[in-house]
């Protein structure tokens, strides 16, 4: 297993259990990010429960342990930037204004927009309201070419916008990853690729996926800058992602950031993670992004234990409300199944 010695890929400076911003950040901002991460965590845990209760059918996929990455990255975007997520992007959606109740309703297969029961709750595209781009989330890496396409449209129209494609480590193996990045690099398109390297693609460790230590080691193939960073520290995420986004927005072409992280739940809730070494699990549990952020906020961040707890409680309550709302939504009517196959 490539991941047996997880510390090896973390810069010693990053291998730490306390975090802090480099410079002063508005208290409201901090609270917003923390609430977002906490809401995502709470929502994910609820989704797991709904799955175990048989209310969510099929499977459910959670982002527990990875919340700092999309929160940090999305916090840097302009309203007209686009992004797409794969399976672990709930916090990013929430930061962009998606409501948990809608997510839960979609997981329950209810008749809510934009897919009215057609798609799993796992995936979301809603350009109009949230700038979340539709991507093809069936086949891994298919969103790198399409991300390049969105970025191409921005470039052709001379708009200073960027497209951020979140992607797992596993999704850096398919040919689409290569073809899409190649196209983006040739045309210097404003495409930022955020690799959430959580050590595994389903059960397959990094070493069985790639002959290099880091996904970022592949960047020379595209002649683009790339960095590896610790993904469980929201401040570190922002620091590194800012360089990437600024670079792309300035017209310098794509940029890849690989965040090392870990999902503390299985690939889906059906997966008991038997393939994960106990040491690795423990290493990352000590570095849980929510815990790290919480400790900072309660302490140096100045919110105090009570202030943080108030947010936690608020999140718990709002997810309960969300479930109630979602369960009250109607199922899609069978006869709508053939609607909206073709655009007018």
């Amino acid at each position: 297993m490539a991941t047996e010695n997880p510390a090896s890929f973390l810069d010693p400076a990053l291998d730490r259990t306390s975090i802090a911003p480099e410079s002063a950040i508005d208290r409201d901002q901090l609270v917003t990010w923390y609430r977002t991460m906490c809401l995502a965590r709470t929502c994910d845990e609820k989704l797991g429960a709904l799955y175990r209760q048989g209310k969510i059918v099929g499977a459910v996929y959670l982002a527990v342990g990875q919340e700092a990455i999309c929160t940090g990255v999305v916090s840097l975007l302009q309203p007209d930037d686009y992004f797409s997520t794969v399976a672990r992007g709930l916090a990013g959606w929430f930061l962009r204004g998606v409501e948990p109740k809608h997510v839960i309703a979609r997981w329950l297969g209810r008749d809510v927009p934009p897919s009215h029961g057609r798609e799993l709750g796992l995936f979301l595209a809603d350009i109009e309201h949230h700038g979340i781009a539709p991507y093809h989330n069936g086949s891994m890496a298919s969103w790198i070419p399409s991300g390049a396409g969105f970025a191409l449209a921005f470039k052709v129209r001379k708009q200073p916008r960027v497209y951020v494609a979140f992607t797992g480590d596993g999704a850096t193996s398919p040919g689409d990853f290569y073809e899409g990045l190649n196209f983006a690099a040739i045309h210097k398109l404003p495409l930022v690729v955020i690799v959430e390297n959580n050590c595994f693609a389903y059960s397959t460790g990094n070493a069985a996926q790639m002959p290099v230590e880091n996904v970022a080691d592949r960047a020379p193939a595209f002649n683009i800058p790339a960095e590896v960073a610790f993904g469980n520290d929201i401040f570190e995420v922002r620091r590194v992602a800012k360089r990437a986004i600024d670079h792309a927005r300035a017209g310098n072409g794509p940029y890849l950031v690989e965040f090392k992280t870990f999902r503390t739940r299985g690939h889906g809730e059906h997966d008991d993670m038997g393939y994960v070494d106990a040491g690795l699990r423990e290493f990352w549990e000590r570095r849980d992004p929510l815990r790290l952020f919480r400790e900072y906020l309660a302490g140096a961040g100045g919110l105090g234990e009570a202030g943080v707890k108030a947010i936690d409680d608020e999140c718990a309550a709002s997810i309960e409300d969300a479930v109630a709302w979602a369960e009250a939504q109607p199922a899609p009517a069978p006869e709508t199944v053939t609607d909206r196959l073709f655009a007018p």
């Binding site: 897919s115 069936g138 298919s142 399409s146 470039k155 052709v156």
Partner: protein
């Protein structure tokens, strides 16, 4: 109205749309500097510039995906596959992204995939295929296949203006062989509407693409022998104009389905099945199909001719149906 080739009709339709709508861009291999393997986009780079006429690396899946993304953002990309055979490399992006996007999210994706397809010119296994049946089985895609210069231009313009992904299969063997008068100005051939290319009362030949011409030739020959065939050119396979051929079959009582693609699993099976189900009472003879043999396209002339549906094979089958 000038008489132009099928190839020039495609060029003209594409160029006109690019002039009319700056959102239309073209991308593909060797289409800019070189003007395309078949020269459909000759002069486009000079006229529209490198932002709108893009030479891509050999990466069908990559540039197809890019075209899809750009389409969602309001561009109207027209993707050229150098040969339709290579559309297999972009299969996933087409059937799983382009086809399903609108159904899933209600977000339109106006993109056209041009596939120079078909055989008859000794291209061998990798430059002769007719891939339409892979796509007619995918809900969310439109599939068209023009047989004439007029339809080639009109369907291409319609495809570009359509807000859905359209697979536009142009037959390479018609490129320079088939000419006719084509209006210089703006018109569309609506997607989803078949055309009776020849009227007749004795037998309906349902066909499309290159086989329209062979079928018309057979119809002439049979006419000299006293039997009148109605030749229905589907033009669009998806959506399919069922009424057009069902009406015809109800009139003639006999149907022959002809296409250049392989017989087994070909789109002709769908057409024949529809006729057999919907026009059962009207049929005086079994619905018969003529198509390519179920082998890869061989290179040698003797073999390719044996493999392809020919005028002779269509004629023989038509006679059998007429004499049933």
């Amino acid at each position: 109205m000038a008489v132009i080739t099928y190839l020039d009709a495609i060029s003209q339709g594409l160029r006109d749309e690019m002039r009319r709508d700056e959102n239309v861009i073209v991308l593909g291999e060797d289409i800019a500097v070189f003007g395309g393997a078949f020269k459909v986009t000759r002069g486009f780079l000079e006229e529209f510039g490198a932002d709108r006429v893009i030479d891509t690396p050999i990466s069908e899946s990559g540039f197809t995906g890019a075209a899809c993304g750009a389409a969602v953002e309001g561009l109207r990309p027209v993707v050229e596959f150098q040969f339709a055979d290579f559309i297999a490399c972009a299969f996933d992006q087409i059937v799983n992204y382009a086809a399903k996007n609108y159904y899933r999210w209600g977000i339109p994706m106006p993109v056209v995939f041009r596939g120079p397809s078909g055989g008859g010119f000794r291209g061998g296994p990798y430059h002769s295929q007719n891939p339409e049946a892979w796509f007619t089985h995918v809900p969310g895609l439109k599939v068209v296949q023009p047989a004439t210069p007029y339809d080639a231009k009109g369907l291409l313009v319609a495809a570009i203006r359509d807000n859905n992904p359209v697979i536009y299969l142009e037959h390479k063997h018609l490129y320079r062989r088939i000419k006719e008068e084509v209006p210089e100005d703006d018109y569309v051939v609506p997607i989803g509407v078949a055309e009776v290319k020849r009227e007749g009362s004795d037998l309906t030949i349902v066909t499309y693409g290159a086989m329209v011409h062979e079928s018309l030739a057979v119809a002439e020959r049979l006419s000299r022998e006293g039997a009148e065939c109605e030749v229905v050119d589907l033009r669009s396979l998806s959506p399919l104009d069922r009424d057009a051929f069902l009406t015809s079959v109800r009139k003639t009582g006999r149907a022959l389905v002809v296409h250049e693609a392989h017989l087994t699993g070909g789109f002709g099976g769908e057409v024949a099945a529809i006729i057999a189900e919907q026009a059962f009472d009207a049929l005086d003879a079994p619905v018969t199909r003529v198509a390519a043999l179920d082998v890869p396209s061989p290179f040698a002339a003797q073999l390719e001719d044996a493999m392809l549906p020919t005028e002779e094979k269509i004629y023989t089958a038509a006679r059998d149906v007429l004499e049933y």
